[in-house]
């Protein structure tokens, strides 16, 4: 970069001299003693290879082979020619004379013999029978990934949704092949075989992430129903190397609501809203006139504040990673440290993050039979939030008339009385005063051993400890806002409880243990058999407690011993155990016919020991056929044609602990004579017969590689049939108003197709590749015992519909005249022209809950998810871009800003122009009213359901690898620099907020998605 810069700033003369010098040098070297070299390149079977890249080592000279495989190039005597071609092993040939060269390139069988990580082991990709997708983290180098889950965006069959970009909690929700369950749908994540959170690992320490989508996951039977994600950490390979990488980026919000920021326009529209709903105007004309006059001279008392502008700044993200790794035949090791720092886009100290990671990965062949190893990966990290954490909701409620500060720096409120705003939430005050800090130390430590037993049996044992220590500390000083006119104070928090210090301690330890026996054997050179048997034990202990302290002299000290009034302490402890046995049998005949069978039996403490509810049995079988290996199959252009089928069952136990046990909970206290008495009550209804939810997955797929593996195509079709779905069911209040039980309530089908297509090739020195994938998933509830489950957000579960389909009133446009209101079904006493007209579905003359209709679109699972992208490489320069999108999902956000003037909040600008008035009868929006004062228009109805389909450029990256010849002198093996941008472009009809963030949310105030501009370098010694 420096060189380039200098190049630009130097004078033209200098440039000319430089160019001349280069030209002379080149000419000179050509003249030296160059030999004209010719030759022909063929594959092992004699077929000529077209487009093979030929390069003279140490120079920039190169060419490509022609249609008959021949080439021509000149090179110095004793120079080395490098031949490279996709799908073939590279070859180097020393030039000694001008005899035409006969070059034969070997197929890169290694590529086809790539191993992929499967449950409790690895398998050759070529003999896989399951639907598996692997993300190589090397493809993500340079991207500002704060968490590993965010790297899964755009992976076929995986829907990764980042709903919240707040530093410290910016993790994607992962859904694999739709939502099979109505309960927890998170996939099971294993790091090097041990259950762990992938987001507690430094992305730089990860080699690959493998997603098991079909019955391949069945080996993890117990909790595999939502798919399994296997994370493999990096290990030392080959000569010892030191790698350092760094990036720096700036971030800002992608979308923000378009709020009314003109105070006069705001007041006038609010008044109109009040008048429309039959109430007195909120702001007196005299006050508005005074405001308008005052704005010119006194912006403290008469502000025109756009609070998003005030509160947001550019965020900064930077990351350093340093690692040392290497291996010999005796040992391998990798040590790494990393540091990530983020300063979020919100003002104040309440959105910072620091993550310090450490990774240790070492193993040793003690002798020819025994190998032992240890890994330790994890974070020491902390992040901050404001003490009163709802900053985004406060911002969504901030008004243009809310004073930021007064002239003397005190925090302002507004002199204009606004109903619903008794205690003004001044965002600046709340962002700069009072802080919560969460500090987490979480490490996964494992020790393992492999021992070769007689008869070729391999014994593996692994023991892992996942230790989580969390400390949440918070302190709030007393806060006050002041009337900008009178100086009168409003206490934000009560002197009785502030200043206040509080701490919560989290102390979790999860212990995982498994051991397996493996046996591989080849019979008669063609029959390959592999057998694995194993057992595992997982124990989860969780302990937390918290307390708080009042009685501080002022807001400066926050230690507990600086306070005087001790307050309540609270805490909880839980334990959860899983015990499992499993096994796998693989058989292949000559690499052509592939068979696999697995079983797993799991016991869970979450189910009743009585009856047969506790243990579940989950078998699977799969088969593959390598048609290309058949003797009858002769093709010059098909490198691989494999058909796969699989069927298997998997379980889900995701119910809260002790859901089967009728309990009496404490905390229902009451005082008599001024003394608190402990009270207990049954609060939950319990079904003691709950048991494993089971998903049976059917998958059929094909892997096709064509033309020297230039084209690869994978197609899968699947059906996931989930029975005994576990779900908390609401029950009628008359049954003691108890929380409904967790029950096995019914069955859901997910059917879908996934297609992944890649094409890669080169034109001379230009390597290029394009890829695309598309996943279609149809989600349908097939059985609910004829019942309907009503969710609280206007969605339902009903046989024949997708999960969480909307069940709302049907809007039929807007009333245009009083006559029309009078002749329509009765909605409310206030209904008048401009209001939404609902359809009287049952024709009883009253609009009520009986008129709701089903809208057959899920609110949570997209029907279509797709990703596509390209990459280009030319002599060390690389350019790549990745796109992602979804469609077939709808949202219905409510409350602040999604609806106008919600309990004293603002409205978006569209209400100024697009709302119904007698002069604007064809308006898109109904007549303006406050959404809390007049609820009828803002009932959940089809009117407010929005399509949030989007296509987004997730990443675009330009990189440059410095040429070897520059580096070899400095003994550096590799240097690359890159710049990239994340979320640069988004195409969506949905404009109110980020279309990705708004998914699965009922409001618009999460930390928005971020646009990141990023640059950095990567150096290997």
């Amino acid at each position: 970069m420096k060189l380039l810069l200098r190049f630009h700033t130097s004078s033209r003369l200098k440039v000319r001299v430089l160019l001349l010098g280069i030209l002379c040098f080149t000419a000179l070297s050509l003249q030296a003693q160059d030999l004209p070299i010719t030759g022909k390149i063929t594959a092992a079977n004699g077929m000529p290879l077209i487009g093979v890249n030929i390069q003279v080592a140490g120079t920039s000279r190169g060419t490509a082979s022609t249609a008959d495989g021949s080439f021509k190039i000149s090179a110095a005597k004793d120079a080395t020619l490098k031949f490279s071609f996709i799908g073939y092993l590279p070859k180097e040939v020393k030039v000694t004379n001008t005899t035409p060269l006969e070059i034969k390139l070997e197929e890169d069988v290694q590529k086809l013999n790539d191993v992929v990580v499967v449950g409790y082991g690895t398998q050759k990709k070529a003999t896989l029978t399951g639907a598996i997708t692997t993300v190589e983290m090397v493809d993500k180098v340079g991207q500002p990934l704060t968490n590993v889950s965010n790297a899964l965006q755009g992976v076929p069959g995986v829907f990764a949704n980042l709903g919240n970009s707040q530093p410290g909690v910016d993790r994607s929700t992962i859904r694999i092949r739709g939502v099979g369950t109505l309960n927890n749908s998170d996939p099971l994540v294993l790091v090097d075989g041990i259950e762990y959170s992938m987001d507690e690992l430094n992305p730089a320490d990860i080699e690959s992430v493998t997603v098991l989508k079909d019955a391949a996951a069945a080996i993890y039977g117990s909790r595999a129903a939502n798919g399994v994600i296997l994370v493999t950490t990096k290990k030392g390979k080959g000569a010892s190397r030191v790698n350092y990488s760094y990036y720096y980026g700036q971030q800002k919000a992608t979308y923000l609501p378009d709020i009314i920021d003109d105070p006069i326009a705001y007041m006038k529209l609010k008044n109109q809203a009040n008048i429309n709903e039959g109430k007195a105007p909120e702001y007196a004309d005299a006050d508005i006139a005074e405001y308008q006059a005052g704005m010119a001279t006194d912006h403290f008392t008469y502000p025109a504040n756009n609070w998003y502008d005030i509160a947001l700044k550019n965020g900064v993200i930077q990351k350093h990673d340093l690692s040392v790794a290497g291996s010999t035949d005796k040992y391998q090791y990798r040590l790494s440290i990393g540091y990530l720092n983020r300063d979020g886009i919100l003002f104040g100290p309440g959105n910072n993050e620091n993550k310090y990671s450490i990774g240790i990965n070492a193993s040793m062949n003690v002798n020819e039979r025994l190998k032992v190893g240890v890994t330790m990966d994890g974070y020491y990290r902390n992040y901050t939030t404001p003490f009163y954490t709802s900053t985004w909701s406060y911002l969504a409620r901030a008004l243009p008339i809310l004073s930021d500060t007064l002239q003397d720096g005190r925090y302002g409120n507004s002199w204009l009385r606004t109903l619903g705003r008794n205690n003004w939430e001044n965002p600046r005050m709340l962002a700069y005063n009072g802080l919560m800090t969460k500090t987490v130390q979480r490490f996964l430590t494992t020790v393992f051993a492999e021992y070769k037993l007689p008869f070729g049996i391999m014994y593996n044992i692994k023991f892992g400890v996942d230790k989580y220590d969390g400390l949440l500390t918070g302190f709030t000083p007393r806060m006050q806002t002041f009337n900008p006119k009178t100086g009168a104070a409003i206490n934000w928090n009560s002197p009785a409880t502030a200043p206040r210090s509080q701490r919560t301690d989290y102390n979790d330890i999860n212990i995982h243990f498994y051991n397996t026996l493996n046996w591989n054997h080849q019979f008669a050179a063609k029959h390959n058999v592999a057998l694995m048997l194993g057992a595992s034990y997982d124990n989860f202990d969780s302990d937390s407690w918290g307390t708080s302290m009042y009685g501080y002299l002022d807001g400066t000290l926050d230690a507990f011993n600086a306070g005087t009034v001790w307050n309540a302490t609270d805490g909880n402890y839980t334990r959860d155990v899983l015990q499992s046995y499993f096994g796998r049998l693989n058989y292949d005949f000559d690499g052509k016919y592939l068979l696999e069978a697995t079983f797993r039996s799991d016991g869970s403490s979450r189910f009743s020991p009585a009856g047969s509810y506790r243990w579940g049995f989950f078998p699977s079988a799969s088969a593959g056929w390598r048609i290309d290996k058949e003797s009858f199959f002769q093709s010059n252009f098909i490198d691989q044609l494999k058909l796969r089928v699989s069927v298997g069952s998997m379980g889900n136990q995701a119910v809260p602990l002790y859901s089967y046990l009728p309990t009496v909970e404490l905390g229902e206290d009451y005082s008599f004579g001024g003394t608190l008495n402990s009270g207990g009550a049954t609060k939950k209804y319990v079904d003691p017969t709950i048991h494993w939810e089971t998903t049976t997955t059917y998958n059929a797929g094909a892997d096709i590689n064509l033309w020297g593996n230039r084209i690869s195509l994978t197609v899968d079709a699947y059906k996931k049939h989930t029975t005994g779905i576990l779900r908390a069911v609401n029950i009628a209040a008359q049954i003691g108003n108890l929380t409904g039980p967790q029950q096995n309530i019914g069955a859901v089908d997910n059917t879908g197709v996934e297609v992944v297509l890649q094409y890669k090739n080169n034109i001379g020195n230009l390597d290029y590749g394009v890829y695309g994938n598309v996943s279609y998933n149809k989600n349908k509830i097939v059985d609910l015992n004829g019942e309907v489950v009503y969710n609280s957000d206007g969605t339902i579960l009903k046989e024949g519909s997708p999960i969480d389909a909307f069940y709302v009133l049907q809007a039929e446009g807007l009333f245009q005249s009083q006559e029309e209101v009078d002749h329509s079904a009765k909605q409310s006493v206030n209904t008048k022209p401009g209001y939404i007209r609902y359809k009287d579905v049952n024709n009883d003359g009253i609009i009520n809950g009986d008129d709701r209709v089903l809208i057959n679109t899920s609110s949570s699972v997209p029907k279509l998810a797709f990703g596509f992208g390209f990459n280009l490489g030319y002599r060390g320069i690389s350019l790549s871009a990745a796109f992602q999108g979804i469609s077939g999902v709808k949202v219905l956000p409510v409350a602040n800003l999604a609806f106008p003037f919600y309990n004293g909040a603002n409205a978006t600008k569209e209400w100024e122009t697009d709302a119904w008035t007698p002069e604007n009868p064809n308006a898109r929006l109904p007549i303006i009213t406050t959404s809390t004062g007049y609820a009828d228009n803002f009932q959940r109805s089809s009117f407010w359901i929005r399509d949030n389909a989007y296509v987004r450029m997730k990443n675009i990256q330009l990189g440059y690898a410095l040429p070897d010849r520059w580096l070899s002198k400095a003994k550096i093996s590799k240097v690359s620099v890159f710049i990239n941008a994340q979320n640069l472009l988004t195409f969506s009809k949905y404009k109110d907020f980020d279309p990705e963030s708004v998914m699965n949310r009922a409001d618009l105030y999460s930390y928005p998605m971020l646009k990141t501009y990023n640059g950095g370098l990567n150096v290997t010694f």
Partner: protein, 535 residues
């Protein structure tokens, strides 16, 4: 690592074989590995085994009184003040911000999907009922219980069950009557029971409670249900039953029964508390006039009464109430002889006005207040707030969510005297006992006695008025105007601020609004539940 030398191979091999076997075996044999039990809750099977647990189970029945849907105080974000918001359903007060949808009901805009109090009250009544039913079914299984204690505790549970059912049928009419512990199979699809049967059960429970409950408690039992509480609640239930909304044939026997029930409470040992304002202040909790109150204590079990009275103003008194107070001389403001001065409207009024709310020009918390202090109507409620004219101590200057300590009085002698007067006047006409009951309340606040010689209708109007004044701010007036069937006029008006500024229009549909809708969520979950008329 260096320790592992080749010669140790044999040993290593043995160790690993052993471990391999052990690993598989250990996990195979130990079935109890999976048996975990909770550390933070009892199982139903182990809970009802000690007298302490039985006491805690009963406490759980009381704790529902503080739920949002009953009297309020317990919610996730801190506190609520439902008991005070109940007043905003009536012409006495205004909930401008529509907290828990109270204003929708006041304005006649409620429907089955309104949520808020409509949903909360239905659910929370059943929370209490379910707990009482469980307690009554389980307490007999508890060993080593003192029989007297057990009988008393059953009486308390029956009183609470009656209170929850009384509340439920008051607002929703017919509701499923369930007397057994919660059971989804047997109770989940039960239809609504005719209201008369529900009330009959309320009376049965109260009668049996009154038999076993003590007249009073001492020390750390104060606040439990007493004999008087059961009898007073019965008097209220019978009064409601005798009223025009429910007693459509004007059966005089119902009024007689109501009068007798109230009279029985008057014969107990309750005395009017001398100071009307101080009756509602924390130092005087559980005083001689209090028959049953909801217990609040800070910091664990507070309410938000002070917060809403002094800051949120979500129970803002309305000018219609202010006008209703008589002059100190006992004459209504509309009487030209009263001396009412429209320029000084708060001069020489019934002292209960000053004790109940603050008005522009009043001194409040040590400061003279202007019309913007309580911006929604100009008035701020004092009753059930610790705040008065004096400056509060600094640690109490600004109580927030859930920080109010004062108990809420559900039943007091003053109310019972008015119940008696009303029922007796309807049953027997305005006899001397009617005058005595009313004048006792007048005497306390040094107001002139009721004009002698009123006829029954005149006396009825006087009693209705006296109830409104005496009980203003206590959440009873909405049910009074419903049962008198006057809501259709009193709630079919526009409301205004102190200065006459229009606030909003209220409406009341007599065909529909005398009853609340059965919440839509309940009808979704139990299709057997019918809906009230026109919802």
């Amino acid at each position: 690592m260096l320790l592992f030398k080749p010669r140790k191979n044999k040993l290593m091999k043995k160790i690993f074989l052993l471990m391999a076997g052990a690993g598989f075996l250990a996990m195979g044999c130990n079935k109890s590995l999976l048996d975990t039990s909770p550390h933070d809750r009892y199982t139903e099977a182990t809970f009802w085994t000690t007298p302490e647990a039985a006491a805690a189970g009963l406490t759980g029945c009381y704790s529902v009184l503080r739920n949002d849907g009953i009297y309020g105080g317990k919610n996730s974000s801190g506190g609520s003040a439902t008991a005070l918001w109940d007043e905003t359903l009536s012409p006495n007060a205004y909930n401008y911000s529509n907290t828990m949808s109270f204003n929708f009901i006041a304005a006649g805009q409620q429907n089955a999907s309104t949520g808020g109090i409509v949903t909360a009250r239905f659910g929370d009544c059943y929370t209490g009922i379910g707990r009482c039913n469980t307690f009554l079914a389980k307490v007999d299984e508890v060993p080593d219980m003192n029989e007297d204690d057990k009988a008393r505790m059953k009486g308390e549970a029956k009183f609470l069950r009656a209170l929850y059912y009384f509340t439920l049928q008051t607002y929703y009419g017919d509701v499923p009557l369930i007397l057994d512990p919660p059971n989804k199979e047997t109770q989940g699809k039960l239809p609504r029971t005719p209201r008369a049967e529900v009330v009959a059960q309320v009376i049965t429970d109260l009668d049996s409670a009154a038999l076993v409950l003590p007249a009073s408690y001492t020390g750390t039992n104060k606040g439990r249900a007493t004999k008087g509480a059961a009898m007073a609640l019965k008097a209220r239930a019978l009064l409601y039953e005798a009223s025009p909304l429910l007693n459509t044939t004007n059966d005089v026997a119902k009024w007689t029964a109501a009068a007798a029930a109230a009279k029985a409470v008057m014969n107990l040992n309750y005395k009017l508390f001398g100071d009307y304002r101080a009756l509602f202040l924390q130092p005087n909790e559980n005083n001689s006039e209090v028959i049953f109150d909801v217990q609040y204590i800070f910091p664990n079990q507070g309410s938000s009464f002070d917060l809403i009275c002094t800051q949120y103003n979500t129970n803002a008194p309305l000018p219609d109430l202010a006008k209703a107070y008589y002059m100190k001389n006992g004459l209504p403001t509309s009487d030209p002889a009263s001396g009412y001065d429209a320029a000084n409207p708060y001069l020489n009024r019934d002292p209960r006005l000053y004790a109940t709310f603050t008005y522009p020009g009043d001194v409040y918390k040590g400061k003279k207040i202007d019309s913007t202090r309580f911006a929604s109507t100009g008035y701020g409620m004092k009753k059930y707030s610790i705040y008065d004219s004096i400056t509060p101590p600094s640690d109490k200057s600004d109580l927030k969510d859930g920080q109010s300590d004062i108990n809420f009085i559900v039943l007091r002698l003053g109310d019972v005297l008015l119940m008696y007067a009303e029922a007796q006047n309807e049953a027997a006409g305005p006899d001397a006992t009617v005058y005595d009951a009313l004048n006792a309340l007048r005497d306390r606040v040094k107001m002139p006695h009721i004009t002698p010689g009123l006829n029954k209708e005149q006396m009825r109007a006087e009693i209705h008025h006296e109830r409104r004044i005496e009980l203003a701010g206590e959440g009873l007036y909405y049910n009074d105007i419903r049962r008198w069937k006057t809501a259709q006029t009193e709630l079919n008006t526009s409301i205004f601020s102190w200065s006459g500024k229009y606030l909003e229009k209220r409406s009341f549909n007599p065909q529909r609004d005398y009853w609340w809708p059965i919440p839509q969520t309940e009808r979704d979950l139990n299709p057997e539940l019918t809906q009230n008329n026109l919802y």
